[in-house]
């Protein structure tokens, strides 16, 4: 494991109740965010019931993850999580403030350094747009979230709920910062009440 990453992880990792480190050189029976069982010796460590906070170079909180279990993949250094909730505060917003985005999923992979979060299995992203307009909820089976560009993207079917509108869209690229979205084959129920 990369020493820098380990140091950063140790710095950012707040172990919740019952946290468990299990250094393993061989472990089977675990799943990846994509759902496939990892090969033997697929990860370097695992932890349970953890809270992980990733800080940026400026010391600012980049994101926070609460997970039932995390493991680190040896090759890429990415962290696989299960039963996770990810919190992200768009730049310029108060950490933990009203514009915080909350993403939940059955499984996820977190970037070793910035980059893109990949979520799978009953994915839900919820937040309030900086530009105004109320809460937005996105539900889908698979989602990527680019922490740098703040863009959510998926090719799967999406249910987007915003205000009085519930919309099903095939594929979606949605920018959390601007509130702009691009998808196809909308099927929206617009309740004028």
């Amino acid at each position: 494991m990369n020493g820098r990453r380990l140091a950063l992880l140790v710095l950012l990792l707040v172990v919740a109740a019952g946290a468990l480190w299990t250094w393993r050189s061989g472990q089977d029976g675990q799943t990846t965010p994509g759902g496939a069982a990892p090969p033997q010796q697929a990860y370097d460590y695992e932890a349970h019931d953890v809270v992980l906070r990733q800080m940026g170079p400026d010391g600012r909180l980049q994101f926070q993850v609460e997970a039932r279990q995390i493991t680190q993949l040896p090759e890429s250094g990415r962290i696989a999580a299960e039963g996770l909730t990810l919190y992200h505060d768009p730049p310029g917003t108060e950490p933990g403030g009203p514009n915080r985005w909350t993403l939940t999923a059955d499984r996820g992979e977190l970037p070793a350094e910035g980059g893109v979060v990949t979520l799978a299995g009953d994915v839900r992203a919820k937040g309030i747009l900086v530009g105004g307009g109320g809460a937005v909820t996105i539900a889908t089976g698979h989602l990527q979230y680019d922490l740098a560009t703040q863009e959510l993207g998926t090719d799967d079917d999406v249910q987007l709920t915003w205000g009085a509108t519930t919309t099903r869209i095939r594929g979606l690229h949605f920018n959390v910062r601007t509130g702009e979205g691009l998808g196809s084959e909308i099927n929206a129920t617009l309740d004028p009440r």
Partner: protein
Amino acid sequence: MQPLIHDSRRSLLKVLAASGVAAWLATGVAARDATAPIVASNKGQVHFNLPAGTQTLEKDVELRQAPDTLIRADKAEGTNLPGGNYDNGHWVLSGAVHIEFEDTVLDANSATVIFDKGRIRTITVEGTPARFSHPGTTGERNQGQANTISYDGNRRQVRFAGQTAYAFGPYEGISDKPLIYDLDSTEITSEKGRSDDSRIIFTFRNMQASARFWRANINGGTQVLEQDVELRRTPGTLIRAEKAEGSNLTDGYDEGQWTLTRKVQIEYQDGALDADTATVAFGAGEVRSIQVRGTPARFSYPAGSSGQRFEGRADTVSFDGDKRQVRIVGHPSRYTFGIDQGSSDKPLLYELDKGAFRSEDNGDADAHVRGTFNPRNRVPTPRTPDRSTAQ
């Protein structure tokens, strides 16, 4: 009328049939039940900006709202949709626009639909032409086409402007003026604007009517025409007046009665009438009766094959279509027959087919018929032989 309408009907049917498979949506629909949810769908790209309240939908766009509102288009650009709220959305639609609401159908190249509290406030469609249809009372749909067709949701009226043609009930026509169609009463009115020379022309079988202003209630069988009114039936009938009010028009212009006022001129077959007011009744497509009044009313008709005309002036001139007889009533009435002329306190009856006239006994012993007869109208009397010189 021109085959234009018939062609347009066929085209409209094709459009309506094709629209069943159509595609593309666009705009919101509002219906009588504003609490019904609006369902939007498309088969192409969707671009939206939630804070800005905008959406752009492409390909097979469709918006529906129960019970009967449907909007389709190739592309729909929506604005004023804050918080995903479509209550007050503005939609600009383009490409194969098809709109249905409250039994009304619109087909056009482009459209703008504005919602207000979940109901359609206005629709403006444009096309070459845009087409409209709405249920008539006889089973057929009232149809109209124009460059621009606008719907005012508050007034529940549809306005046609630009190369307007229509087929409402038994009538077909064209209009240079904008027409207003009321969805509830199905009354049609030409828009009164600044004075110009534009006219409305409409036809029913061999009858053509035109005027600068027209108001018609097809269901009620009434029509009002104003300014330079002209009713023309081929062959042989031309009616002009400043105003014509038709009633009991139950079978187009084949049945019904017209009340004419101001500058009335009637030409029927070879006869002519000029008057201040008139009433003309049609039955089975023929003129059944005419009654004109004036100060005086004037009548003229060819007198047989002599080339002369019978002319009468009186307070009232009546034509009986069954008897083919004209009755002239005045105090007195005056007449000219060729170069003979006279006056009568009694009604005069002129037989159109015989070219003869006579006075009518009205029971007034003091009433007289007076006349001067020019001897040139008579056959010269043979000279009596001089007996003194007779052989």
